[in-house]
């Protein structure tokens, strides 16, 4: 299974992916997402699921069901857009609260056994070289934290240049 997390509008997405493949789950911005409250309820109240009842409570579970995650995000200051970041913040139940040593640092232990290949597309007409460098470092850090592999990180000016 493949998971696509993006911040495109319907028209932009349909131009990029006219027909959604059966093996792909798509997380889009329906305008209802609420931000993470930092309550850790997804670890100690309803383990594996966010306690906020909106359409994004099962993000951690969705990540656990796939082998490939593709992110398409407008670049904000060398990081993800607020919506994409919001989805990732709401998905921390993918990991276990316990710690393990990875890359010589403390990181969260795995909750699930699936292995993810991560592909990220950052778009925007004014992404600086410094922002690209920050974004590369961010994806590398995300990969260590999620214990996954980075397949690719791309930067484009126009959404049409994204290939998925």
């Amino acid at each position: 299974m493949k998971l696509l997390i993006h911040d495109l509008n319907e028209e932009q997405l349909s131009k990029l992916i006219p027909v959604k493949p059966d093996d792909t789950t798509v997380i889009s911005d329906d305008g209802s997402i609420r931000h993470c409250l930092g309550c850790f309820g997804c670890w100690v109240k309803t383990p594996g699921t966010c306690v906020i009842h909106d359409n994004y409570a099962d993000t951690g579970e969705k990540i656990s069901k796939c082998e490939e995650v593709v992110i398409i995000s407008k670049c904000f200051y060398g990081g993800f857009s607020p919506f994409v970041k919001n989805v990732l913040d709401r998905g921390i139940s993918y990991m276990h609260p316990y710690f393990t040593i990875r890359n010589g640092e403390l990181h969260h232990r795995r909750r699930y056994g699936n292995h993810i290949d991560l592909s990220v597309w950052f778009y925007g007409d004014n992404i600086t070289e410094v922002e690209k460098e920050t974004a590369e470092r961010l994806i590398h850090a995300n990969a260590i934290n999620l214990d996954c592999s980075v397949k690719s990180v791309g930067f484009v000016r126009e959404i049409e240049q994204v290939t998925v």
Binding site: G38, V44, E61, P82, K85, H96, F99, E105, R111
Partner: protein, 211 residues
């Protein structure tokens, strides 16, 4: 001088971000006008925006979320970028205090770079950042005097930043980790998770529940 202390934790007062900001406030309060604000939702109120953009210094204190800035604070920074672009005149110097639950303060470095990049886009000058590990521990020991025990290493870093804030100076980022061994921090955190889940009427094995 007018200094805005902006707490970017969604957990308001009960947060490591608040403990850290209060330590800094005690070093700045004399002869300065301190404006304390919470950024716990995805937008600043219009009144807050006006106040923030009138300040000479901005200090953001926030928790690390997925290696970067919490989404609600990111939305507020975008809003603040627009406010600065619409406002002529001098821009403030910006300082950032990022804390994470991991042991190593260096894990906050990407979040500090994002703040620095925001400064470049929005107009303010980037002053300095501190990346702190062991955020949860800081909340647990909030009653300990600032310059004592495991808080001392954090205190020293914040003191350095306070001096830079007062001078409007820029300096390299600082990274601090808890003042006790990593294995002890790990054991203590895991004890805390077991305690928390039992308090919620669940069993320790539920920590590992798969959906």
């Amino acid at each position: 001088m007018k200094i805005a202390l902006i707490n970017g934790s969604p957990r308001h007062k009960d947060s490591a971000s608040a403990v850290i900001l209060q330590m800094l406030k005690r070093m700045l309060a004399e002869e300065n006008e301190i404006l304390e604000l919470y950024c716990a939702t995805p937008a600043f109120a219009e009144h807050d925006l006006k106040q923030i953009t009138s300040c000479d210094r901005l200090v953001f204190s926030f928790p690390l979320y997925v290696d970067a800035i919490p989404s609600h604070l990111l939305r507020c920074l975008s809003q603040l970028e627009e406010a600065y672009s619409a406002k002529a005149g001098s821009k403030p110097a910006v300082y950032a205090l990022v804390n994470c639950g991991f042991y190593e303060g260096s894990q906050n470095s990407v979040a500090l770079d994002i703040i620095k990049n925001w400064c470049h886009k929005a107009g303010p000058t980037y002053g300095q950042g501190i990346g702190m590990g062991g955020g949860g521990m800081l909340l647990a020991i909030s009653g300990v005097p600032d310059d004592k025990g495991p808080k001392r290493i954090v205190y020293e870093a914040i003191k350095t930043m306070a001096n830079n804030i007062l001078a409007g100076a820029s300096a390299d980022n600082l990274f601090v980790s808890p003042g006790f061994p990593r294995f002890a921090y790990k054991l203590s955190a895991e004890f805390g998770w077991r305690k928390a889940i039992k308090e919620n009427g669940l069993k320790v094995k539920d920590l590992s529940r798969r959906m």
